[in-house]
C-alpha cells in the first residue's frame, strides 16, 4: 500500500486523477479502502458534478486530454474544448428556456394553457428558424471549416516526412520496425501478473509500461505505417491526438511530430481479444542526437546478434534465451506454466505437437509439427507465423525451451542456423 | 367487392411487396457494394 501510495503522492500531476488503492490486494487492507472512500468519495463526486455544470475554463482542467505534444493533438484538443463550450452554451440556453417554462407555466400557479400548435406570427417564425440557422452555421462554418483543414493535415502523412516507422500489431504486442535503419524489435507489456492480480503493489505506470519502448526523435515528421498479423488493433497515444486501426490485409498510415521530449503512454483502442487491456504503447521521444546514438547502438547490437546466431549454441544458452522469449511472446496465451487456457488456448505441457517430430526424413519442416507451427502459425487462429517477428535465435531458443519444459522431456534442441536454413 | 375484401387484398399485396423488398436487400448485400466503391476502401 505504502509503495503505491507513495509513488502517487510524489507526482502532483497525477494526484488529482486517482485514488491510491486497489482491491483485495494483500498490501492494502479493507479498512484502508473504506477510509479512502469515506475521505474521497463525496469530495470527488461534488468536484466532478461541479466541473460538469460549470464553464470549462481551468488551466489543466478535467476537460482536457492528456498533454498534447503534436500539432495534430493541439488542434484537436482546441477544437474539442471549443466544441464543448459551444454545446454547453447551447445546452444552458435551451434548458434555461425549458426551466423558465417549467417554473412559470404550471397549473398550480394558475397558468391557462395555450391552444397554438405552431409558430403563429412572423416574429415567432423568425424565432423558430434562427436556432436552426445558428446550428447550420456552427456545423458547417464555425467548426466545420477548421475541421476540414485539420483532417486534411492529419491525413497528409507523406508531405515532407522525415522518417518512417512500421508498426506491426499482433495479439497482444507491438512490433516496431525502422526500415531505413534496419532495426526491429517487439514491445510488450512489462507489468507483472502479480500486480494485475493484486499480489504485488501496483507500480506508478501500472499497465502502461513496456519492455522495449518505441524511440522517436523530436521535431521530426514521423510517418507511421500500420499493419496487423492477426486481428484488428488500434494504435493510440492520447498525447499525440492520433488513433488508427491496424487492419489485416491493409496498410494504414498516420503521422506524428513530437515537439517535446518525454515518455508518452497509450493503449490499444480496438477490442482485440482477451489481452486487449494489456497491450500498452510507450513512446520515448528524445532529441535527434540522442536518437542517432540509440540507432547506432541498436545496429551494433543486431550485428552482434547476427554473429552470435551463426555459432553453435549450448543447451543452457538456448534454454535461458527461450525462457526470456517465452515469457514475452507466448505466455499471454499458453500461460506461464504451459497449461494454456482450456477452450481458448491449447496447453503445451504434454502436447502431441510439442512432443512430436520437427523435421521430416529429408530435413524439411514436418508439416504441422512443432517448428512449423511456431514459424508459420496456424491460419485462422491466434497462433501467428512467428518467423515474421522473431529472429532465428529466438525461434530456436523458444522451441528448444518448450520441448524441455512444463514436463516435456524431448531432450533435443534446435540451432539458430537450422532455423535460418528452414525460412 | 366490398370494403373489407378490398382491404384484405391490399394487405396481402403490401405484405408480399415488403417481403420481396427484404429478400432483395438481403440478396443485394452479397454483391459486397462497399468493396467496389473506391471511396469506401
Amino acid at each position: 500500500m505504502e509503495l503505491a501510495g507513495a509513488s502517487i503522492h510524489d507526482d502532483p500531476a497525477i494526484r488529482v486523477w486517482r485514488l491510491p488503492f486497489s482491491f483485495c490486494s494483500r498490501h492494502e487492507t479493507a479498512n484502508f479502502h473504506i477510509r479512502q472512500i469515506k475521505k474521497q468519495l463525496p469530495l470527488w463526486f461534488w468536484i466532478a458534478f461541479f466541473l460538469f455544470v460549470s464553464e470549462p475554463a481551468h488551466a489543466k482542467s478535467i476537460w482536457d486530454f492528456q498533454e498534447p505534444v503534436t500539432p495534430v493533438a493541439r488542434t484537436s484538443l482546441a477544437a474539442s474544448v471549443e466544441f464543448m463550450r459551444i454545446i454547453m452554451g447551447i445546452y444552458i440556453a435551451v434548458f434555461a428556456v425549458f426551466a423558465y417554462s417549467i417554473f412559470k407555466h404550471r397549473k398550480s400557479s394558475g397558468a391557462q394553457p395555450g391552444t397554438f400548435t405552431g409558430p403563429g406570427s412572423r416574429r415567432q417564425w423568425i424565432l423558430a428558424i434562427t436556432p436552426f440557422l445558428l446550428l447550420i452555421y456552427i456545423d458547417y462554418i464555425w467548426m466545420g471549416i477548421p475541421a476540414f483543414h485539420a483532417i486534411s493535415r492529419m491525413e497528409d502523412t507523406r508531405t515532407a516526412a522525415d522518417m518512417t516507422v512500421k508498426v506491426t500489431a499482433s495479439q497482444w504486442k507491438w512490433q516496431y520496425e525502422y526500415p531505413d535503419e534496419g532495426i526491429s524489435f517487439v514491445s510488450a507489456m512489462a507489468t507483472s501478473q502479480g500486480q494485475i492480480h493484486g499480489r504485488e503493489a501496483k507500480g506508478e505506470h501500472y499497465l502502461l509500461e513496456v519492455d522495449n519502448p518505441l524511440i522517436l526523435p523530436t521535431n521530426k515528421k514521423v510517418r507511421i505505417l500500420l499493419i496487423s498479423t492477426d486481428v484488428i488493433h488500434s494504435w493510440w497515444v492520447p498525447s499525440f491526438g492520433v488513433k488508427r486501426d491496424a487492419v489485416p490485409g491493409y496498410l494504414r498510415e498516420m503521422w506524428v511530430n513530437i515537439e517535446k521530449p518525454g515518455i508518452y503512454r497509450g493503449q490499444c483502442a480496438q477490442l482485440c481479444g482477451d489481452g486487449h487491456s494489456f497491450m500498452p504503447i510507450v513512446v520515448e521521444a528524445v532529441a535527434e542526437p540522442q536518437f542517432n546514438e540509440w540507432v547506432a547502438q541498436k545496429k551494433a547490437q543486431s550485428s552482434q546478434a547476427e554473429a552470435v546466431a551463426g555459432k553453435a549454441w549450448s543447451r543452457e544458452e538456448l534454454m535461458a534465451k527461450g525462457d526470456e522469449v517465452y515469457k514475452v511472446v507466448c505466455s499471454a496465451c499458453h500461460q506461464a506454466d504451459g497449461k494454456g487456457l482450456p477452450g481458448a488456448f491449447p496447453a503445451l505441457s504434454g502436447s502431441s505437437i510439442v512432443n512430436g517430430p520437427m523435421l521430416d526424413k529429408e530435413g524439411h519442416l514436418f508439416k504441422d509439427g512443432h517448428l512449423d507451427r511456431v514459424m508459420n502459425g496456424k491460419p485462422g487462429t491466434a497462433m501467428q507465423a512467428f518467423k515474421n517477428s522473431l529472429s532465428d535465435a529466438e525461434i530456436a531458443a523458444v522451441v528448444t525451451y518448450e520441448r524441455n519444459s512444463f514436463g516435456n522431456r524431448m531432450g533435443d534442441m534446435v540451432q539458430p542456423a537450422q532455423v535460418k536454413a528452414l525460412r | 367487392m366490398n370494403e373489407h375484401e378490398k382491404r384484405e387484398r391490399r394487405t396481402v399485396w403490401l405484405v408480399v411487396a415488403l417481403m420481396l423488398l427484404v429478400a432483395v436487400i438481403y440478396a443485394a448485400t452479397f454483391i459486397k457494394l462497399p468493396v467496389w466503391l473506391p471511396a469506401l476502401k
Binding site: 497525477i14 486517482r18 485514488l19 482491491f23 483485495c24 472512500i37 463526486f45 466532478a48 458534478f49 460538469f52 478535467i62 486530454f65 492528456q66 495534430v72 466544441f83 454545446i87 445546452y91 435551451v94 425549458f98 417554462s101 407555466h105 397549473k107 397558468a111 394553457p113 391552444t115 397554438f116 400548435t117 436556432p131 446550428l135 447550420i136 456545423d139 491525413e155 492480480h197 499497465l207 496487423s228 486481428v231 484488428i232 487492419v247 491493409y250 483502442a269 477490442l271 482485440c272 486487449h276 494489456f278 482450456p342 477452450g343 481458448a344 491466434a382 | 382491404r7 394487405t11 405484405v15 415488403l18 427484404v22 438481403y26 448485400t29 459486397k32 468493396v35 471511396a39 469506401l40 476502401k41
Partner: protein, 529 residues
Amino acid sequence: MTEATAAVAHDHPHAGIMRWLTTTNHKDLGILYMSFGGIMFFVGGLFIMAVRAELLYPGLQLLSPGMYNQLFTLHALIMVFGAIMPFATGLNNYLIPLMIGAPDMALPRVNNWGFWILPFAAVLLLIPFFLQFFGTGSGATGLGWMMHNTTLDIQSGIGIDFAIFTILLLGVSSLTGAINVVVTALNMRAPGMVLMKMPLFVWAWLITAFMLILAMPVFSAAATMLLTDRHFGTHFFDAANGGDPILLQHLIWFFGHPEVYIVLLPAWGLIPHILATFSRKPVYGYRAQVYALCAICFLSFIVWSHHMLTSGLPLAAEVYFMYATMAISVPTSVLVFCWLGAIWRGAMTFETPMLFALGFVAHFGMGALTGLVLPDVAVNAQHHNSYVLVAHFHYTFFGGGIFGMMAALYYWLPKFTGHMFDEKLGRLHFWLTVISFNITFIPQWFAGLDGMPRHVADYALRFSAMNFISSVGAFLLGLTQLLLVYIVVRCVRGGPKATGQVWEGAQGLEFTLPSPPPYHTFETPPEVK
C-alpha cells in the same frame, strides 16, 4: 376483415398458460413483449453489475478478461435487442390498434410467431455462456455488440456462432413485427384518420418499421456471410484469403447506425403525447415532427461510416461522413424545439410520466449535443473507442431510449392495468434514477477525455477515481430499478381505479376506452373527424 376477427372472434379461447402461448390478441402480445423486455432489462443489468464490480478498482479481482468481454457484450446485445426493442414493440402492439381505431394488428398470427421467436433467441444467445461452466466451449460471444473486429469474429469460439443464429432469429422477429406495423398503419386506420392525423407515436413506429425493413436484411446477410466464412470456406471477410475485413464493418454499421434510431424513434414518438397531456395543450409542430422523423430516417442510412473514422477511410469519405453526420443535428433539433413548444405556455403538472419525459429531454439533449462533437474527424481520432463514446451513447440509449420507455410505461400503465400506480414511489424512482444515472455516466466523460479506452477489463491508475464513482453509481442505478418492479407489480395487483381518461389532459382514441380496455376493442371502427 382480415384474419384478425376470425382468430379472435370468441373471447379468451384458452385459459392459463395456453392463453399466452396461443394468443393472437394484440393486447396480450403487447403485454408479453413488454414483460419480456422488462425481464431482459434486468438480465442485461445484472451482467453490467458484474462488469462494473470488476471496474470498481484497478486490477483483476472478479473476472477473467475473457469473461469480462462476454459480460459487456451480452449486456449490450440484451439491452438493445432484448430489452429496448421488444419493449418498444410491445408498446406498438398494444397501442397502435387503439390509437388508430383498429380491432387488432393486421397480421395477428404472424404477431404471435414474431413474439415467440424472441425467448428462443435469448436462450440461444445465453446457452454458450452457461455451457462454459460445464467445460464446453469458450463461452458466449465477447466481441462487442456490433462484432466490429472482423478477423477476431472469424477466429473466435462457438459463442459467435450462437450469436449469429440469434441475430438471424431476431431479424425474422423484427421483420415480422415491422411488416405488421407498416401494414397496420397503412391499411387499418379508422375512417377519417388520414395519414397526417395519425398520432405521432404511430408515425414514429411506421418510420421505425421502414428502417428495420431496409436495414435488418443487411445485418442478417452480414451475419450469414460471417457464418459461411467461419464454416463453409467462403472468404468474404478473411484477409488472409483475399477477403476484406473492412467490408463487414461497412455492412454492420450500415445496419448499426439506423439501429440507433430504431431504438430512439419510438421514444421520440411518444414523448410529444406525454408532454402535450401534462401541459394540457395540443401537440406542437405536428407536421414539423413528422417531416423531421422522415429526414432522420433518410439521414441515418447515409452516415454509417462515422463509426469507422479511425479505420483509415480515404480523406474524401471522412469529410463526407463528417458533414453528413452533422446534418442530423438539424432535424433532431426540430424535435427538441417542438418539445419545448409543447410545454410552452401550458398548464403543467408533474406526474411521474411527465417527470420521465422531461428527464428524457434533458438527458437525451446531452447525448445529442455530444453527438455534434464526435463526427469532427480530428476530434474523433481522440474520442473514438474511448470512454467518451461510452458515456455519449449511454446518454442517448439510457437517457433517451430507457427514459422514454419508462415515461411510456408510467403513462399507459393505468390504461393497461386499470389501476393508478403509487405516485410518490414513482417520483422517488424518477429522482433516484436521474441521480444514479448521472453519477454513473458523468465520470465516464472525464475518464474518456483523459484517455481511457473502452472494452478494457483493467485500467491504469490515473482512471481509478472516475471508475470508482461510476461503479458506485451503477450499483445505485441497478438497485433503484428494483423499485420499478415493486411499483409495477403493485399496480398490476390493485390500487385506486383508473378512469378511462386516466390523465386530465390526455387526448387520443385509446383514452376514449375504459381502463383496462376490454379484450376486443373497435370492432366497429370509430369515426375520426
